[in-house]
């Protein structure tokens, strides 16, 4: 809840024109260039080389250059296939584990958003029905760790806490004041928790400030819950985040990825790091122009694709959805109707191709009825939700990775629709 400082800010802010507040988001990291990871030449890094191939002058660019708009000029769509294949190959080369226990992890943007700001409203449809159903639906499904996003209101956290008491979970949602800004919740099965434990709540330096005020009071950030996994004794660090949305805000996202990635890379090498969340950008986009908003084409999708490799780079992370087999983003994007045709994409979800496109990549898609009602034809379908892993000591293996909660549920008189406007992403790990 607003503190004394925030209360004073309320009075002051109420008399200042929003135009003043909205000018000049400060999104270049203040410490950019100070990390060795900033200095890496794209062409020299196996995970980043494909970016260099797609960028004008890419042979000479460093990671630091990607934070400056005038230096990021894509001549072609950056294709992450080499990175997908590299990750799968590295995972396949790992020796099998013995005596490993399973750990089922879910990342899910619940879409419990219903807020107003001057003269407009932002929300996900059917929230009144979904918010009552979600706790039971999720906590009865035998997940070990749940990382949930867009649980903005404290009443929804309270419902999760009540269900957590029933099903034997502990909950970390940050402080009340900041929680209503970031909407993040981590739940861990009680019996898995052992000391030492520690939690952290961080708000990113890079923000879209108007999203805070006079917007719907949203400030992006991450939670971290560190604990000893009681059955194995392994120390786990579970991160949950929800990055800035909208394609034109790609610079905020890569700054946020750098912030969290560097924190994750600081964890001890013998520990397992899981970074879950809605990162609001996919690894791949075939065309730079896709979608339209009020008749204006949406552009800059290729720049959005830099978030994925940069996040992996800064955090020393791997993508759990590209370890058993290479991720299918490029394959599924190739099935889209391109170039973009607004009329076709508004007439039917994905211009009628939902039945052909398997649910193994996209987590934000017009094939989801709630997503279609909000965003039809304004954005690519995309893999927005991830669980990344940092495991330098190779204590974990991916057993399964899948897109979940894809089917509509029966809400009785309210009809049938999905539990959220996103699909969930889940991974089952073998942990030693």
């Amino acid at each position: 809840m607003p503190t004394t400082r925030a209360s004073a800010a309320l009075v002051l802010a109420s008399l200042i024109s929003p135009a003043l507040l909205a000018c000049g988001d400060d999104i270049t990291p203040a410490d950019l260039g100070t990390s060795p990871q900033d200095q890496v030449k794209l062409a020299d890094a196996p995970r980043l080389a494909y970016l260099a191939e797609a960028l004008a002058g890419g042979a000479d660019l460093t990671v630091e250059d990607l934070f400056f708009e005038d230096r990021v000029d894509f001549a072609a769509a950056p294709d992450p296939t080499p990175l997908f294949e590299l990750q799968a190959a590295e995972h396949a080369a790992l020796a099998p584990l013995s005596g490993a226990l399973t750990l089922r992890v879910l990342s899910y943007n619940l879409g419990l958003l219903d807020r107003w700001y001057p003269f407009t409203h932002v929300g996900v449809p059917e929230i009144d029905h979904r918010r009552l159903r979600a706790p039971e639906e999720l906590l009865s499904a035998d997940w070990d760790v749940l990382c949930l996003q867009e649980v903005f209101e404290l009443e929804d956290v309270d419902r999760l806490r009540a269900a957590a008491d029933t099903y034997g979970y502990a909950v970390f949602a940050g402080t009340d004041d900041k929680h209503v800004q970031h909407g993040l919740v981590i739940l861990v099965r009680d019996q898995l928790l052992a000391a030492p434990q520690g939690t952290l709540e961080v708000q990113y330096e890079a923000q879209r400030e108007i999203e805070y005020f006079p917007g719907p009071w949203v400030r992006r950030g991450f939670l971290r819950w560190s604990f000893r996994h009681a059955p194995t004794g392994r120390v786990l660090h579970v991160y949950n985040t929800h990055m800035t949305s909208f394609p034109e805000l790609w610079r905020q996202r890569i700054a946020q990825a750098r912030h969290l990635g560097l924190d994750a890379a600081d964890r001890p090498a013998d520990d397992l790091v899981l970074v879950a969340g809605d990162f609001n950008a996919a690894p791949y986009y075939p065309d730079d122009i896709f979608g339209d908003v009020d008749g204006e084409p949406v552009v800059d999708w290729w720049r959005n694709a830099t978030m994925y490799p940069l996040f992996l780079h800064y955090g020393g992370l791997v993508d759990t959805h590209s370890l058993l087999t290479p991720a299918t983003d490029v394959l599924r994007m190739a099935q889209l109707r391109l170039p973009f045709d607004g009329a076709a994409y508004r007439a039917e979800p994905l211009a009628g191709r939902c039945a052909e496109i398997a649910h193994d990549a996209f987590t934000g898609s017009d094939c989801n009825s709630l997503y279609f009602r909000q965003y039809a034809g304004t954005e690519y379908p995309a893999r927005l939700d991830y669980i990344l892993m940092r495991d330098p000591s190779a204590h974990a293996r991916v057993l399964t990775s899948e897109i979940v909660y894809t089917e509509p549920l029966d809400f009785g008189a309210a009809g049938a629709f999905e539990l959220s406007d996103h699909y969930g992403y889940a991974v089952t790990l073998a942990l030693q």
Binding site: S7, A13, L15, P18, R115
Partner: protein, 230 residues
Amino acid sequence: MIRALALLLLTAEPTQASPDAPAQPAAQPAPFGPAHPPPLACAPAPAPPTKRKTGRGLLIAGSVLTGVGALGRVGLEVFWTTTAGLKPGEPFGRWSLANIAFLTNWNSVMFFGPGLGLLTAGAHRRGRDDAARGRPLDLTRRHKLGVGLLSGGLGLFVLSRALLLPLSRACDTNACFYGAMESTFWVSAGATFVGATQLAYTRGARRGANINLVPSLGRGFAGLAAAGAF
């Protein structure tokens, strides 16, 4: 206070000889004496009537601004219940306090504040004009009413705004918070506006009552004299 006497003369224009009339021999000045009082100096031409400051324009302008402010506030309430989708029984979202403060204060500063200023200025002038024209004023009753309403209105407004943050913590529902905020706003605003204009009116009237028009007669003239504090 300096009291001054202003003389307003309403006299007939002095007669003029017809240009076609035969020239009259120059009149010899009459000897002075009781039968022939010395002529007075010619009365100055009457001043053109000045426009009365009735405060009408200020009252109209103030009413318009206040009306726009009131419409804006009502529009905000309609927005909350429709587009924003706020339901009375749902929990109040304290995250929205900044936007509530921004929207309500902006409306008050842009419209209600200037509207109040113009209305009180207009009421002051109207009171002064009414007093100058000798209308019945009932100033004592108006003064008491003004003091009571203004102090009550301002007091309620300040107190209710000071308690808004604690109220937001205490209120479980939208109905509780928005109901309290809006009801205290309308009651305090109404009392403040009525009280301020009544007080301004009485003050203007008391100033206007100190300027009196009195008949003044004398040889060769009849008119009105205005006497008062200026």
